[in-house]
Symmetry: C2
């Protein structure tokens, strides 16, 4: 495979492959996913070797330890990638599904049918498993994919992609169905943003600067994977054990991910009852707390939260806590500072739950459940290319169904418009 | 109502209204639509008077007769607008619909629920009935709308919008649910394109220059209503009567609309049999024909079509005709020159029909039916804000369902991620 394909040529090749993929059967695409899993397993040595060089460079460059940990692959993680591809292989085919159908009064038969979007470009940072997961989702849904990973994982991503591409060829699908951009320059991303003739959607996954750059400059439609400033509201009636369990899991189960808790809102009516236990449990897990003035009157041993804290996605063992006057104040805080990713409530009162569910305008609303449960896993999507914080097309996890669009097909026997 | 609201203020007001509208019941929104219909009926004199001034200005400015005809309102057309609003009132409510729901293995109950998009901005040219139809669709689906019509219809649009806005107030919904931009400057549109904090989607309906401008500059997500270069492919086996009936209706029933036929593709295997009859029937309806060389060998009395003709949306009594070598050549022509709006086939062979339906990547594929039947009417949508030629979110007609997005709601009883 040539190493310095012009971006425009990558786009043209992807478009051509997407036309072929759109006409393949679900059976052929599932076979491709199994071949892709086999190829990763067979290439594990080469992939780990490439990854070891990425990790060595990251160490040398002084990359922070949690980021190096995210970057590092081992046999288990490669095995997990294979497993995700096999799960995708067994999911129902979203292409050709009749989404609705009816016969009009005149006898015209109308159907709306799922079809691939076409060419999906995924621009991502950090974890190399995204390479396999994004490629798998796109092939499953009949799309061609252009992958552009982060520079830290460059060799790992290329090694993974090469295995996947070869697998496509082995089962007779176009190798250009998966392409990886062999450049870590930002200019390569900028070129992608202009390929309106060939790229149908761009999925950026990464930090704020990447997303803002893409949003400001893309002429291609974008499905953003933006930040998760996730809230949990502890209602006045919340039982202590439930509130503590959900809050601790939401914040602590993993801190560096987008659906981890960032701000805890505690109703003023239960703050004295619950804050001491909540803060003690969180602190015992090593979480640094930043509270509002009213918080600190109840639990003095915490830093004062500033306006900036309400707007911050820490992705770290830090939590902001605010006492709010009732459910509406909680909803207002979330409307004002939230990012529409995942927000939850702990309460046993169904009227309050419904008001919260209706009032909070987020991709995922969790009721008496950890914010960490929002996403493709709990929602049965198998694997995802990202989690959309946009409102159009797909909201929340973007899996194989979300990588399809539809066409209308109307069948008549000489039906005319009068 | 103040006349010179700053665009940013319009956006902020719309956002506020959208939050209120999102929490209204379907019953209240249907009542609002009935009140809007009543208001148009009550204000018919004022609306016709405003329209008469627009029409007089258009005449004075030398606007082409078909455009003046599109602009002109009479009692019947106002009545039709009222009728559309009443149809919308009776459609099922798309807000709150459980799109899917399941209980996961752990007992977590997950539902995907329809919710309004939020704030919809519609930028349109020409016909004033769009004002009522777009506003009706948005209110029905719980969205706030910002309307920005064309300068020719400025007074008509304002008169219609004022009636609709007053109706919202009368039923207790926020008047800012419908706002009309009282400026015909392009700069007002440019400001709309930057309102990422308040506008959730922009729907441009108009000529190529508007669409290209919006596409190049918008930071707000766009649902384009672009051109319709619609094709009809007459397969080798097509019966003469069926072919002529569908072709003539597709081209002639109305020429200035986006789903009117622009290029007729005739299979080489039936060209000698069908072209004379087809061209005679079209010419009898006053259609000027432009054919390829092979067409002209069979029917010499037509102009030679150039490459430009294949790329032109005439919106006029002109038709391009090309002889193609088989179904795949027809699909290739459509892939290359089409706009993905509406394309059709005339054939009785089901294997050919299926190959065409699968191969043609258009929002609507018509089988033995007029291209003029693609759209909200035949598809049961009631009314639409436009016809999307984009691939994401909505493809083809954009009705009330397409003006919603969804949220995921997960309900547990202390469910945690392990």
């Amino acid at each position: 495979m040539p190493c310095n394909l012009d971006m425009n040529e990558i786009g043209v090749r992807a478009k051509g492959a997407s036309r072929v993929l759109a006409r393949t059967s679900g059976r052929d695409r599932s076979a491709a996913l199994r071949a892709m899993a086999d190829a990763l397993a067979a290439d594990v040595e080469r992939i780990l070797e490439a990854n070891a060089r990425d990790v060595a460079d990251a160490h040398a460059a002084g990359l922070a330890a949690p980021l190096v940990a995210r970057l590092r692959l081992d046999r288990q993680r490669v095995d997990d990638m294979c497993g995700r591809l096999l799960v995708l292989a067994d999911l129902p085919d979203p292409v050709g599904v009749v989404l609705e159908g009816f016969t009009g009064p005149s006898g015209l038969r109308v159907e709306r049918i799922g079809v691939p979007i076409g060419v999906v470009a995924v621009v991502y940072e950090a974890r190399p498993n995204v390479t396999a997961e994004a490629a798998g989702c796109c092939i499953k849904s009949g799309n061609a994919v252009i992958l552009r990973g982060g520079s830290e994982a460059f060799r790992s991503n290329v090694a993974i992609a090469e295995a996947l591409i070869a697998a496509l060829g082995r089962v007779g699908l176009p190798e250009a169905g998966i392409q990886i951009v062999r450049s870590t320059e930002r200019s390569a991303v900028d070129r992608l943003l202009t390929l309106t003739e060939s790229v149908d959607v761009l999925v950026p996954r990464g930090g704020r600067s990447l997303i803002e750059h893409v949003n400001a400059h893309s002429r291609v439609p974008v499905l953003k994977h933006y930040e998760g400033i996730c809230h949990l509201y502890i209602a006045a009636d919340a039982p202590a054990e439930l509130a503590i369990g959900v809050a601790v899991n939401s914040k602590c189960q993993r801190v560096e991910v987008c659906n981890a808790l960032e701000t805890l809102l505690v109703d003023a009516a239960c703050a004295e009852r619950l804050l001491p236990g909540l803060t003690e449990a969180l602190r015992a897990r090593g979480i640094a707390l930043r509270g509002c003035e009213r918080c600190r009157r109840i639990v003095p041993e915490m830093d004062l939260a500033t306006e900036d804290d309400w707007r911050t996605e820490y992705l770290a063992p830090v939590l902001a806590i605010r006492v709010v006057d009732g459910l509406d104040a909680a909803v207002d805080h979330i409307s004002r500072y939230g990012s529409g990713h995942t927000d939850g409530i702990v309460s046993l009162r169904s009227d309050w739950i419904e008001r919260f569910v209706t009032g909070v305008d987020s991709a995922s609303v969790m009721v008496n459940a950890s914010t960490r449960l929002s996403g493709g896993g709990a929602y049965g999507l198998g694997a995802v290319v990202g989690i959309s914080t946009d409102r159009l097309h797909a909201r929340g996890p973007v899996g194989v169904r979300e990588l399809t669009t539809y066409k209308w097909v109307a069948r008549g026997n000489g039906h005319l418009r009068t």
